[in-house]
C-alpha cells in the first residue's frame, strides 16, 4: 500500500470517497468486499438511515462491522426483514426500489462495463474469475451504479476479456431496456472517474490528494481524458478515518 499523504492510505482515501458518494442515497444494494465496507462507513458517518440490501436477502441490515460474506449471521440478525433470493431479485431489485447499486470488479473499460468472468478464452482461460454473481442484475436495475476498484492498468483496460456486467451505453439513450443510468462514478484509490455527459466515456473527474494525473493515466489502459473541471478530493477527515478504522479492524 502506498501512502500518498502522511496519515492515511490510498485504500482508506478510496473507501472514504466511496462513502461520500452515497450522500443522499436512501437504498443501496451492496456487493461484498470494498462496497460493503464503504456502504457501512457511509451509514455510520452521515447516513444513519441508509438502507443496505445484500443479495443474500437481508434488507436494512445494520452490521456492526462489514461482513466477510453476504450471508454472515449478523446481516440477518440486524435486518428489518430477510427475504428469499427470488424475492430480493424480483420485488426489490427488479422492482426498481434501489437507488444505488454498489459494485466492484476485476476489469473495467472506458464505458464502465465490467468483467468478473475470465481472462483469456472462455473455454480455456488464463484466469478463471468467480463469475457474474448478482452484478448484471444490480447494474441493470439499480437507478445508478457506483463502482469501487483499485486503479491498476491490468484492471482498467482498453478491451474487456469478457463482458459480464453492463456499463454505460453510448448512443443508446434507452440503455437497451435497463432501468437505471448505469455507473455514475468509479471510485479508485487514485481518483474518481465519471461519465462525460456528451460521450458517456468515463473521464477523470477528481484526483485524490497528492496523486499525479500522469500516474492515473499510466494505470489506465485506455486514453483517459480529464473532465474540464477536474477537482481534488478532500482528504479524509479525522472522523472519517476514525470510523473507518474501527470498522475495518478485526
Amino acid at each position: 500500500m502506498t501512502a500518498p499523504e502522511p496519515g492515511y492510505s490510498a485504500d482508506e482515501m478510496m473507501t472514504v470517497a466511496a462513502a461520500r458518494e452515497l450522500r443522499g442515497t436512501r437504498v443501496c444494494f451492496v456487493g461484498i468486499g470494498l462496497p460493503s465496507l464503504a456502504a457501512n462507513l457511509a451509514r455510520q458517518l452521515h447516513q444513519p438511515d441508509l438502507v443496505l440490501i445484500y443479495e443474500s436477502g437481508t434488507i436494512g441490515a445494520k452490521p456492526s462491522r462489514p461482513p466477510l460474506s453476504v450471508g454472515d449471521g449478523e446481516l440477518a440478525e440486524t435486518a428489518d426483514l430477510v427475504v428469499s433470493m427470488p424475492e430480493i431479485f424480483a420485488y426489490w431489485l427488479q422492482g426498481g426500489r434501489i437507488q444505488v447499486g454498489f459494485l466492484g470488479g476485476a476489469q473495467i473499460d472506458r464505458f464502465g462495463n465490467l468483467n468478473t468472468t475470465v481472462i483469456g478464452p472462455y473455454e480455456r482461460p488464463q484466469v478463471r474469475l468467480p463469475g457474474a454473481g448478482g452484478a448484471p442484475e444490480i447494474a441493470w436495475c439499480a437507478q445508478r451504479v457506483v463502482v469501487i476498484m483499485r486503479h491498476r492498468r491490468r484492471a482498467f483496460v482498453e478491451r474487456l476479456g469478457f463482458l459480464t456486467t453492463p456499463g454505460l451505453c453510448p448512443g443508446d439513450p434507452e440503455r437497451g431496456g435497463a432501468l437505471g443510468k448505469g455507473p455514475t462514478a468509479v471510485i479508485t484509490d487514485l481518483g474518481v472517474l465519471r461519465p462525460d455527459p456528451a460521450t458517456q466515456e468515463l473521464v477523470l473527474s477528481e484526483l485524490h490528494p497528492g496523486v499525479d494525473p500522469d500516474r492515473v493515466r499510466a494505470e489506465t489502459g485506455w486514453h483517459l481524458r480529464e473532465a474540464a473541471d477536474l477537482g481534488r478530493t478532500a482528504p479524509p477527515t479525522a472522523q472519517e478515518l476514525d470510523v473507518l478504522r474501527r470498522l475495518s479492524s478485526e
Binding site: 433470493m85 482461460p125 468467480p130 457474474a132
Partner: protein
C-alpha cells in the same frame, strides 16, 4: 411423506451417478455434511447446480465427483479464488469440467420456474457475453413490446439442503437467510434435508421457511451439518476455516491429503468434526493467515 434416514442411507438411496444435484444454501445453511457423504460414497459424473459453488463444490470438483457445473459465482467469499474449481477449469484437473454459467438473478429464476411448474421464467436483465455460454433466450412482451430475458426451468434430480429443525411428522423448518432452498426443493424430483435436530413443534420465525413433510423425500439428523457454514441460532460461520481453505486447497497434493484425512477416512460427520477440532490451533492459525 418424508422418511427419517441416516445420512449414509439417504445419500445411498437418493443420489446416483450421473444425477443433476443441487446442494443449495446461500452462505448460510450449506449442506457440507451431505457433500462429504457423497464424496465418501464415490459418486461420479454428477452435474452440480448451485448459485455459489463455494468450498462445498470446490471439494466435490477436486475429488472428481462432477462432470458439469451450473453456477453463478465461484469464489471463496471474502477470501479469494476457489483453487480446485479454477484448476478444473484452467487445467482440466482431475478431469474436464463443463460449465453452464448464469448470474444470480437468472439462475435463481431457473429454480423459480421449475418450482412453479413453468417451462421458463422471464426477467429484466443483461445477457452480455454470458448469453452465448448458457441457456438464455429473449421474449417479447405482448403488451408493451419490451424485450425480456428468459431462462428455462431447472429441475434437479435431487435437491439437498440443510435446515435447523424437523418436527416428528417430518416437516422441516429453516430461518435466517433462506436463499433459494425452498425453490430448489420444490424444483427437484427428490429431496433430502439434513437438520440440526428434531423438535416437538416449531417456534415462530419471521421469514422462516416451512417445508411440509409431503414435499420432502428424506430427513437426516446431522448436527452442525453445515460446517464451516452455519445454522442461525445453532452455530457460527467458521470464517477461519474459510480462510484456511485457501492454503489447504491451493495445491493438489495437500488438498487430497486433507480430504483423505478429514473426509474419506472419517466414517461420518461427527468424526469429521471431531478430527477438525482435535487439530492444534497453531496449525489452524498458521494455515489461516
Amino acid at each position: 411423506m418424508s422418511r427419517l434416514l441416516s445420512l449414509r442411507e439417504a445419500i445411498a438411496e437418493l443420489v446416483h451417478d450421473g444425477d443433476t444435484i443441487a446442494l443449495e444454501g446461500f452462505t448460510h445453511l450449506i449442506p457440507f455434511a451431505a457433500a462429504h457423504e457423497i464424496i465418501r460414497q464415490g459418486r461420479r459424473h454428477l452435474t452440480l447446480a448451485r448459485l455459489t459453488p463455494d468450498l462445498i463444490y470446490d471439494q466435490m470438483i477436486g475429488m472428481g465427483c462432477a462432470d458439469r457445473l451450473i453456477f453463478s459465482w465461484g469464489g471463496n467469499p471474502g477470501v479469494g479464488s476457489l483453487h480446485r474449481f479454477r484448476d478444473a477449469v484452467e487445467n482440466g484437473w482431475p478431469g474436464p469440467l463443463q460449465l453452464e454459467e448464469y448470474s444470480h438473478g437468472s439462475l435463481t429464476h431457473r429454480y423459480v420456474a421449475a418450482a412453479s411448474g413453468l417451462p421458463l421464467a422471464i426477467m429484466r436483465g443483461f445477457g452480455g457475453d454470458l448469453f452465448g455460454h448458457t441457456r438464455m433466450a429473449r421474449v417479447t412482451c405482448p403488451f408493451t413490446g419490451e424485450e425480456l430475458l428468459a431462462v428455462p426451468a431447472l429441475h434437479p434430480d435431487v435437491a439437498i439442503v440443510h435446515a435447523q429443525q424437523a418436527d416428528r411428522a417430518g416437516n422441516v423448518m429453516m430461518w435466517g437467510i433462506v436463499g433459494v432452498q425452498k425453490e430448489a426443493v420444490l424444483a427437484a424430483r427428490r429431496s433430502l434435508v439434513t437438520v440440526e435436530e428434531v423438535v416437538d413443534s416449531f417456534a415462530p420465525h419471521t421469514g422462516g421457511v416451512v417445508l411440509p413433510q409431503w414435499v420432502v423425500t428424506a430427513v437426516a439428523v446431522v448436527p452442525d451439518g453445515a460446517h464451516p457454514s452455519f445454522a442461525q441460532d445453532y452455530s457460527q460461520r467458521d470464517n477461519a476455516f474459510y480462510r484456511r481453505w485457501d492454503a489447504i486447497s491451493r495445491e493438489r497434493d495437500r488438498f487430497l491429503d486433507w480430504m483423505r484425512q478429514h473426509v474419506l477416512e472419517t466414517p461420518d460427520h461427527r468424526s469429521y468434526l471431531r478430527r477438525l477440532r482435535e487439530e492444534p490451533p497453531a496449525d489452524q492459525l498458521k494455515a489461516g493467515s
